[in-house]
């Protein structure tokens, strides 16, 4: 009896389809875009063609790459801080309903306050624009993780709760061995949104602090290119942002799949199980 599963997942041909379909659709969408723009003779300063964007990307590859590095750094730091902050706060909230209800409004306030409005204030107290930028990106990104994890930490199965109580589990054991695994899928669902928002946050934060940062990120490039009417370059930067978002989406997807694989296979085996070779 070997549990090192040999063909656990879906059949390989299905896997290929799953990879090929999005790529094929992507190709179709880009081709259609190219054709529409060319046939309708839409001028490149309004809507460039994908080929024009690709060309601009190649031409400006060096500043774009550097800018991507800046934005990516902000995004990743903000995301890490969002994960840390969101999870810790959620863990804190899980200890008491009253605490949760008392503090959640402040998290909501943070989330809904327009960055454009508070960036100047932050700048008064924090003189280093880089920190203001990170703080802004974090503010945008942390809420879904907090919210998701907070819900997940309360989703433990009643039977499991009983088990842990019966065996006199400490708070910490309950959190680590019961609540954390229970909350994992909820956390991951929040992460999926937060990854996007961290990217959005990095870009927005750069917009609101743009002038101040020495090394330009992608938002700066977009703004500058738009200001200078260089639509193709703006779209090149936009495309990099989109691609980054999509790559991170799939990375999170894979991470989810991997972390939850031991639980999800149930579905495979029960809904698609016999079909493996049948």
């Amino acid at each position: 009896m070997s549990y090192a599963a040999s063909n656990n997942g879906p059949h390989w041909s299905r896997r290929v389809l799953r990879l090929a379909a999005p790529l094929a659709l992507g190709a179709v969408v880009l081709a259609a875009w190219e054709i529409v723009v060319r046939v309708k003779e839409i001028s490149p300063y309004l809507l460039p063609t994908p080929s024009g964007i690709a060309q601009a990307m190649w031409e400006h590859r060096e500043p774009l790459l550097a800018a991507w590095g800046v934005t990516l750094t902000t995004m990743l730091i903000a995301l890490a801080a969002a994960v840390l902050g969101g999870v810790l706060l959620a863990a804190l909230f899980s200890t008491s309903r009253v605490l949760e209800l008392s503090l959640f409004p402040y998290a909501v306030t943070l989330q809904v306050t327009p960055l454009l409005a508070i960036a100047p204030l932050l700048l008064i107290w924090i003189h280093e624009p880089r920190w203001v930028m990170l703080l802004c990106a974090w503010i945008v990104a942390f809420f879904p993780i907090l919210s998701g994890t907070a819900v997940g930490l309360r989703a433990a199965d009643a039977g499991h709760e009983d088990l842990f109580r019966l065996y006199g589990a400490s708070r910490w054991q309950r959190l680590r061995l019961l609540l954390a695994p229970t909350a994992l899928p909820y956390f991951l669902a929040g992460l999926r949104v937060s990854v996007n928002l961290a990217l959005v946050g990095a870009v927005v934060a750069e917009f609101v602090t743009a002038a101040a940062v020495e090394h330009p990120g992608l938002a700066t490039i977009i703004f500058e290119a738009q200001y200078r009417s260089d639509t193709e370059r703006a779209f090149a930067a936009l495309a990099i942002i989109s691609l980054t978002g999509v790559v991170f989406y799939f990375a999170t997807h894979l991470l989810s799949g991997w972390l939850l694989s031991s639980r999800q296979e149930r579905r495979v085996s029960s809904r698609e199980g016999g079909s493996v070779a049948g």
Binding site: A212, F223, R228
Partner: protein, 322 residues
């Protein structure tokens, strides 16, 4: 009446007052236009609307963007320049040792995004300002007020007054135009197609706008100011008065070439000179475009509206010209 949409580069303010005047006192209507004004703002970019044909005329902030349009082969051109001098300035608190323009280069500088990609690059190249001193400016004065050693960008017609209202003390103002930034400002841009196919229509609009500006500066501008205040809640009578005063005192509108050729006047030499400065600052490359393509003198320098200027305007000559 022909429907015409005019897109501004900012919210309604006295620095755009001539257009509101022409709208308010019927100058546009008399010229056969039913004009709709579309405001701009700090987060709003109306420029693509012009190329897309969604607006008929666009107010540009300076010539740099016109050069860029040529570079991107966007078929638009500057047809008139309402401000002979760009009101862009730097502001500093008094008593912080910023008495000279050259003292400013080392100070932390609050700069909005648009400035960072245009005149700041020139400041950097021509005067040695440094990127690492930049702080973001989102049109809230709070950071500047909180940090006395900081300086910030502004419009000579607006921010000084706002600072004075908040601190009770007028700040030091350094006009960029006085240090070599000699772009025209508040220029009217039009699509090439309109210039080619309906030059008469463009001419009518430019003329009416010019008349509007004369009337706004020298005539009864109350109706225009009412419109401005309606469109932009941030405007106050005091602010408007201050702006008007500054525009006159600094000779922003009616000076330079405008004195002889009327408001809106342009000269190719000045356009070329400014282009050279942009090349020197690294914003554009030498020979990349022909700066002459950015403008057309077809509709200006005709002395339109000179009759509306009061006689005493002669002493403006000294203030504006160099």
């Amino acid at each position: 009446l022909e429907n015409v949409t005019l897109a501004l580069n900012w919210k309604a303010q006295p620095e755009l007052g001539g257009f509101y005047q022409a709208l308010a006192d019927g100058t546009y209507r008399d010229a056969g236009f039913d004009v709709k004004i579309r405001q701009g703002g700090p987060q709003i970019n109306n420029r693509p609307l012009l190329a897309a044909g969604r607006v008929d005329f666009l107010i540009g902030t300076n010539l740099l963007q016109a050069f860029d349009a040529v570079k991107q082969q966007t078929p638009t051109r500057v047809v008139a320049a309402m401000l002979q001098k760009d009101p862009q300035c730097l502001i500093a608190h008094r008593g912080q040792g910023y008495d000279q323009w050259s003292d400013l280069t080392k100070a932390p500088l609050l700069m909005a995004a648009t400035g960072r990609y245009s005149f700041f690059l020139w400041m950097e190249a021509a005067h040695g300002f440094q990127k690492r001193n930049l702080r973001p400016y989102n049109h809230s004065l709070a950071p500047f007020l909180a940090n006395k050693t900081w300086i910030q960008q502004g419009y000579a017609t607006a921010e000084p007054m706002r600072v004075e209202e908040a601190t009770g003390e007028a700040p030091l103002v350094f006009l960029l135009a006085d240090h070599g930034w000699d772009s025209y400002s508040t220029v009217i841009e039009a699509p090439q197609a309109a210039i080619d196919r309906q030059p008469e229509r463009v001419q009518r609009f430019v003329d009416a706008s010019i008349r509007g500006w004369y009337d706004y500066l020298y005539g009864d501008n109350r109706a225009a100011n009412e419109l401005i205040k309606r469109d932009n809640g941030a405007m106050t009578d005091a602010q408007i008065a201050f702006s008007l005063k500054q525009m006159k005192a600094q000779g922003l509108v009616d000076s330079g070439e405008a004195v002889e050729n009327g408001i809106g006047a342009m000269r190719l030499e000045r356009v070329r000179r400014f282009y050279q400065k942009m090349v020197d600052s690294g914003l554009l490359k030498a020979g990349e475009i022909d700066p002459d393509d950015a403008v057309t003198l077809q509709f200006v320098n005709q002395g339109v509206g000179l009759d509306l200027r009061p006689r005493v305007a002669g002493d403006q000559r000294a203030a504006g010209d160099k």
